[in-house]
């Protein structure tokens, strides 16, 4: 594939509508889960059926605890309603995790994007910027990842693609200082949305989590109430460790929402069910492809429907 073809793909118009696109993205998830659930639902609820259900839930990354509880509920219900019950249980959990972005009523609204390394923060920011720009909003990106080689350049490329401004310092600069300058700048005064990129960090590195707290303090000091949204990006292929990630990031800086990325692979992303159950952090968006428009609002009904269709 040549560069221009790749670029064309990035800008390709979405002709299928939101639901169609979501379904496409979840196709493999759905196919796998549904085919096997049909198998389970075909028979009576016995030890084998329960074990099959356990396998389905566990292999979707729901985790032992959530799977056990859901199966416990199913066991207590009439086998005739097996399918509807399972669907209903999963929907009920996902519904609690539905929420929209908290950017209205703030000018500028500040969004801080955090997460472990390699889960798609910068790409998500590119997509988010495009989305806000399409809504007619003035967007400013802040290159707060001053650590990883070429992270600033990567965000700048996205800035050019989408056609929004990027505030950046040199590589190795203090991210707090970048954020300070960005919020102080004239550009921020004119912006509707300011999106701050941060360096990927493992939640187990205490000094790096302290750094995030500091960045957040700087924002709040310069613009009381900011950040209005703290988005934790989680890769859909992550296993049970995602719960720890969410827990520790949440404890450190108060996560307001999760963006679940890379749902276009074969990973099921079932970990969000466990996260919503245990931590009550909503899922705001899902990434369902590499194209610039492949970022969608999280919708519990669609997500459940797509899983069970």
């Amino acid at each position: 594939m040549t560069g221009s073809e790749v670029k064309k793909l990035f800008y390709m118009e979405n002709k299928k509508g939101v639901l169609g696109k979501l379904k496409d993205g979840l196709l493999k998830t759905r196919r796998n889960l549904t085919e096997r659930i049909e198998g389970v639902f075909g028979g009576r609820i016995d030890a084998q059926a329960l074990e099959d259900m356990e396998e389905i839930l566990i292999t979707s990354d729901l985790g032992v605890k959530a799977s056990k509880e859901i199966i416990g509920i199913i066991e207590r219900t009439d086998p005739v309603n097996l399918r509807e019950t399972l669907k209903g249980e999963i929907f009920n959990i996902l519904k609690k995790g539905e929420a929209s972005l908290l950017t209205n009523g703030h000018k500028p609204a500040v969004i801080m994007v955090v997460g472990v390394n390699g889960n798609g923060k910068t790409t998500t920011i590119g997509k988010l910027a495009k989305r806000f720009k399409d809504e007619g909003k003035e967007v400013l990106l802040v290159a707060g990842d001053t650590f990883r080689a070429a992270a600033i350049e990567q965000l700048s490329v996205w800035g050019e693609r989408v056609g929004v401004k990027v505030v950046k310092h040199k590589s190795g600069a203090d991210p707090g200082a970048v954020v300070f300058d960005a919020i102080q700048s004239e550009k921020a005064k004119g912006a509707d949305v300011v999106i701050v990129d941060t360096a990927g960090r493992l939640h187990t590195k205490a000094p790096l989590m302290e750094e995030l707290k500091k960045i957040k303090r700087v924002m709040d000091k310069e613009l009381p109430g900011a950040p209005h949204e703290v988005l934790l990006v989680i890769d859909a292929s992550t296993g049970q460790n995602a719960i720890e990630q969410a827990r520790i990031f949440h404890e450190a800086i108060g996560v307001t929402g999760i963006v679940l990325t890379k749902l276009d692979g074969t990973a099921k992303g079932g970990i969000i069910i466990a996260i919503i159950r245990e931590l009550e952090i909503p899922v705001k968006m899902i990434g369902i492809g590499e194209k610039i428009d492949d970022l969608r609002d999280f919708n519990a009904e669609e997500f459940t429907e797509a899983l069970f269709e």
Binding site: T59, V157, S237, T238, G239, Q240, K262
Partner: protein, 447 residues
């Protein structure tokens, strides 16, 4: 890493150890716990099932029930099976007799290919070779730039063109360049791609046909969940992998993906990434890892680390001073510096045997060491030579100079005196040039 699993299994086995005779139901309940622990550790459902079946077969047999110490016996069986699941022993990456050897890194987006490419180049450079880093990721914005920056940080050669170029062409040109100019090995960084993206997987197949890499290594994230089996299987089917590199092992993911990927592909995990710095790439040792999972710790790794990073002469010089009154703060600082070279303390702690249960309660902050160094740096030469003269006023000045509190200075001095005492005790035994290890132990006591 693997802490959670270790904790759980240790809990189970503590129960087993307490009994003389083991009943069949004990084994079954232990296996149930092991199953759950493995599932929570993200080992794939089917892989766990096979594993537990195998253990059950061996464990409930006479081998265990008739043995004198059945608890030990279960541990032995589980350990053996875990080791065999992960591949029997460490497989080294070998270089071709006809250079250039070509190593190609493949994997999903965000698994850590580019950083790993840099780390590999660094490793080969340390061996005295002249690697060539090749940026075949012409797709992700600034990926070429990232690899180019890494190569200049390490001081190795780099080949890359511009975004959007044909990666097959880039690889061909790079191998020609390596042949002409004598680079060895060639390390190719490819664009991240989904294992189900047929077009991009075909592209990799074409690179493989044209370049015939000696090693095709799947770079995979240690945090990967159940999907690890699909990813590894698809990449292996398409490219016939020669091995796997597991990244981000410095987090607290239990790393069951390691077991899953090896089980479905039969390909060894060769290296593990244990930090963001460019020297944090280590060999993967299945038997040691199994010991670690079972809470037996990993003494061998610690010793190797110590040997690799402590300079012999410096160690000898320090050793001579041990146990004599001439061991000064100056020497103490030298030891701290040596120890820092072994890597972050938190990592070394992971390797200590028997710590499993308590590991999570010990929160080591490597910045503490930096503080200690700063405090010693703020002393005069005379003070470093004779700690006894450091009175209240001097302590105040040192605190000011190092940006710490007087209580910090007091603590460091107290610790120094402890180390001095300990050195005396140790000097009665032969030390084999591993002075840093003792300090490591002592530092752990302070926390």
């Amino acid at each position: 890493m693997f802490e959670g699993l270790t904790n759980k299994l240790e809990g189970i086995f503590r129960k087993l150890r307490g009994r003389g005779i083991l009943k069949e139901e004990d084994v079954l309940s232990a296996l149930k716990e092991i199953r759950l622990a493995l599932l929570e550790a993200d080992v794939n459902f089917k892989v766990v099932k096979d594993f537990v079946e195998r253990i059950k077969g061996r464990a409930i047999g006479q081998e265990i029930l008739q043995s004198l110490t059945p608890g030990q016996q279960v541990i032995k069986v589980v350990h053996e099976e875990l080791t065999s699941l992960m591949g029997e022993s460490y497989k080294k990456t070998h270089l071709s007799p006809n250079p250039p050897t070509v190593l190609m890194l493949v994997g999903l987006q965000g698994s850590g290919k580019t950083t790993t490419a840099g780390k590999l180049a660094n490793l080969f450079k340390k061996e005295g070779r002249q690697p060539l880093l090749v940026a075949a990721d012409t797709q992700r914005p600034a990926a070429i730039e990232q690899l180019s920056l890494l190569s200049s940080q390490i001081g190795v050669n780099f080949y890359g063109t511009k975004d959007g170029d044909n990666p097959i062409r880039v690889c061909e040109d790079a191998t020609h360049k390596a042949k002409r100019e004598g680079f060895e090995p060639v390390i190719i960084d490819t664009a991240g791609r989904l294992h189900i993206d047929d077009a991009l997987m075909d592209e990799l197949k074409m690179v493989r046909e044209k370049i015939l890499p000696h090693e095709i290594l799947l770079v995979a994230d240690a945090m990967t969940g159940q999907d690890a089996v699909n990813i590894a299987q698809r990449f292996d089917e398409a490219l016939n992998l020669t091995g796997i590199i597991l990244t981000k092992m410095d987090g607290d993911a239990r790393g069951g993906a390691a077991i899953s990927m090896m089980a479905v592909t039969g390909k060894p995990i060769k290296l593990i990434g244990v930090g963001e710095k460019l020297d944090l790439l280590e060999p993967f040792h299945p038997n040691r890892m199994a010991s670690r999972i079972l809470g037996m710790g990993d003494v061998l790794s610690i010793i190797e680390k110590a040997e690799a990073s402590i300079e012999k002469e410096e160690a000898l010089r320090l050793e001579k001073k041990l146990g004599t009154d001439s061991f000064t703060l100056e020497d103490f600082r030298g030891q701290l510096k040596q120890m820092k070279k072994m890597g972050p303390l938190s990592q070394i702690l992971d390797l200590i045997p028997g710590l499993g249960k308590f590991r999570s309660e010990i929160n080591i902050d490597d910045r503490e060491l930096i503080k200690v160094e700063a405090i010693i740096d703020s002393m005069t030469k005379k003070e470093r030579g004779n700690y006894a003269i450091i009175n209240g006023n001097r302590r105040k000045r040192i605190a000011l100079g190092s940006g710490t509190m007087v209580t910090d200075v007091n603590r460091v001095l107290k610790q120094f005196i402890q180390v001095k005492k300990m050195m005396k005790a140790f000097s009665r035994r032969p030390m084999g040039g591993k002075g840093g290890l003792n300090i490591a132990r002592e530092v752990m006591k302070w926390q």
